[in-house]
């Protein structure tokens, strides 16, 4: 099988291509899609998922998973609201919240690496625990009166363009994540750990430390997302971002990241995130009901795993015909 063909049937490329096709088609045919306001809505509402998808991709590539991200985001939003009500300055609050995210991630990481517990189980536990703490912290309060310049930053766009202001920092984070995963020794080691933890250890890779770092960064990014969420929607509640983890996982899976670890690209994951976001936007504009949208998401997921298999089978069959 020629190399170009193998590359062409790679699933992340396919998702990227589908995303572009969906965008182009929608520009042409869907009323209200192409204007700057709608695009900024689309991007703005997808940003929380995209933000969490960055570290989640790395974590999943290393063979672990963090289901507590949405709760961490909720917790940091709740703490932000609480401290704000206490009269602290927002400039002090945000670093505190980020630090809290680091702690949440660290707890997950330590439980996984020190005690050797499966991350799925641990983070199902912390999913409940962090959300519960958020509930204790903020209770039934709903804090909305954050300073306007922050709200504007989180919800506004650059001039009249379609680019939300918060998109620029996201792009910077994306570039950093891509470089880390795909161009550094750290990223290489992440793939190795995901594909075979034991072999990675025998190659002198510090597996536990690396996983701890990944969990911590995931916690940090989750809390950043929580802060962003509270500002973007101008509302800090303990149940902010509930269910975000499932959206992130669905998107990342769609982008071709293998949950057994060791496989996938960030490009694919982000393409998956924005593909789901764009489809939802388009379907809503076309008056497709929420229920049918769920079905579409499901079908896409199933296709995302069946697709590459079928593609591979076709490729193999073709190669066989070529050799014989």
């Amino acid at each position: 099988m020629p190399e170009s063909l193998t590359r062409a049937v790679r699933w992340d490329t396919v998702v990227g291509a589908v995303l572009i096709v969906v965008l182009l088609l929608s520009f042409g045919t869907v009323d209200g899609f192409g204007n700057a306001l709608n695009l900024s809505f689309l991007i703005g509402n997808t940003l929380p998922i995209a933000l969490v998808a960055l570290p989640m991709t790395l974590l999943v590539v290393s063979g672990e998973i963090d289901l507590s991200v949405a709760s961490t985001a909720g917790l940091s939003g709740a703490v932000m609201g609480y401290l704000w009500n206490q009269g602290m300055t927002i400039e002090t609050i945000i670093p505190i919240c980020l630090l809290l995210g680091v702690v949440c991630g660290l707890v997950n990481g330590l439980l996984v690496t020190r005690l050797g517990l499966p991350s799925l189980a641990v983070t199902i536990g912390t999913l409940a625990a962090y959300r519960g703490i958020a509930q204790i912290v903020l209770g039934s309060d709903s804090v909305t009166d954050f300073p306007t310049q922050y709200l504007d930053f989180a919800a506004g766009r650059i001039g009249d363009t379609f680019v939300p202001r918060a998109f620029v920092p996201f792009l910077v984070l994306l570039v950093i994540a891509v470089i880390v995963l795909h161009a550094t020794a750290f990223g290489r080691a992440t793939f190795a750990i995901g594909a075979s933890e034991e072999a990675a250890r025998f190659a002198g890779i510090r597996v536990k430390r690396q996983k701890l770092i990944l969990f911590t960064v995931t916690g940090l990014m989750a809390s950043l997302t929580g802060v962003f969420w509270a500002l973007h929607y101008a509302s800090a509640r303990y149940d902010n971002a509930t269910g975000l983890e499932l959206s992130v996982i669905a998107a990342v899976l769609l982008g071709g990241i293998d949950f057994d670890g060791g496989k996938g690209t960030l490009g694919g994951a982000i393409a998956g995130v924005f593909l789901l976001g764009a489809l939802q936007n388009v379907m809503s504009l076309q008056d497709v009901s929420a229920q049918s949208q769920i079905v579409v998401t499901g079908v896409l997921l199933v296709l995302s795993v069946l697709g590459p298999r079928v593609a591979k089978q076709i490729a193999v069959a073709r190669a066989r015909r070529l050799t014989s």
């Binding site: 439980l111 005690l115 050797g116 517990l117 499966p118 799925l120 189980a121 641990v122 199902i124 536990g125 912390t126 999913l127 409940a128 625990a129 962090y130 959300r131 519960g132 703490i133 509930q135 204790i136 209770g139 499932l246 996982i249 669905a250 899976l253 293998d258 949950f259 057994d260 009901s289 929420a290 229920q291 049918s292 949208q293 769920i294 079905v295 579409v296 998401t297 499901g298 079908v299 896409l300 997921l301 199933v302 995302s304 795993v305 069946l306 298999r309």
Partner: protein, 346 residues
Amino acid sequence: MTVTTPDKAPVAEVPRSSGTRLVDRVFKMRELAILVVFLVMIVITQAGNSEFLSEQGIKDLLLNATILVLVATGQSLVVITRNVDLSVGSTLGISAFAAGDYLQGGGNPVVAIALAVLMGIGFGLLNGLLVSLGQVPALVVTLGTLYIIRGIDSIWVGSRQITAAGLPDGFIDFGSGGISAVPYLALIALVVLVVTAYYLKHFGSGRELYALGSNPEAARLAGIPVRKRILAAYTFCGALAGLAGAMYLARFGNVDSGTGTGYEMTVVSAVVVGGVVFTGGSGSVYGAALGAMLLTSINSMLPALGVSSVWVLAINGILLILAIAVDRIVALRVASALKKRNARHA
């Protein structure tokens, strides 16, 4: 064809080493640890609130656990084969509605239950076929079918709902009735549980589920019909989710398009807490059932102790982590003790 054992006892000359007995004990202990945690919590709650273990209290405990125990039993079978079925919540919801819809139209309760089970079998088969024939990751596929089934459910059900008023009284009474403190539903769950556990331990195809979860490639080489077994595990899991749907209907008398949403997390938690390993090949349905009991009971214990519901979620999560951590630490301790005693089989 039956191979019978020769009557003489050939085992005698291989004495079971102390290490083996220890290993045996560790394996038994896995469930034991959870059982102890569970009992301790019950005792504490009872000490704090004497109503807790009243007849009504016990009945409530058992009833609460029943549905989760059923679904967790099915789920463990799938998890043992190194797969997972995330769509159980959706399956439960849609089969509960199907049964309710049929009953509201004046149907027979037994047929309604059968209908729910059949519906579950259908979706289980769908999952099983996708996973085993496509040989694709179960997590993704069943996350997909979770959405698909839920979507179909919502489109079909719309804003309709089944209420107790529309159901035959006998059916509802069956859902909350029982023999003194033991509800009928709990009896059904118990029977399913015991039969499943016996099957897993004593039948070839049951052991093969463990084998193929432990090492799928080796299972293929050993001539185990891998696809067939995975398909069967999913079908069984679906059937139990369907049965659980019927029981949900009888118990709560109330079903709409959202029934069972998010249930997969609870089920997965129960299975994990119960010591069924996600990488397949080990764990037991008794463990999963205990995990289910533990999880549902926490939700009854905390309110019974007067813990404000604000704290429930956090305590729930922390207990969950503690349960897994304690289990793990005990296992590690014993394993290292074992290693030191049993340096080498010489």
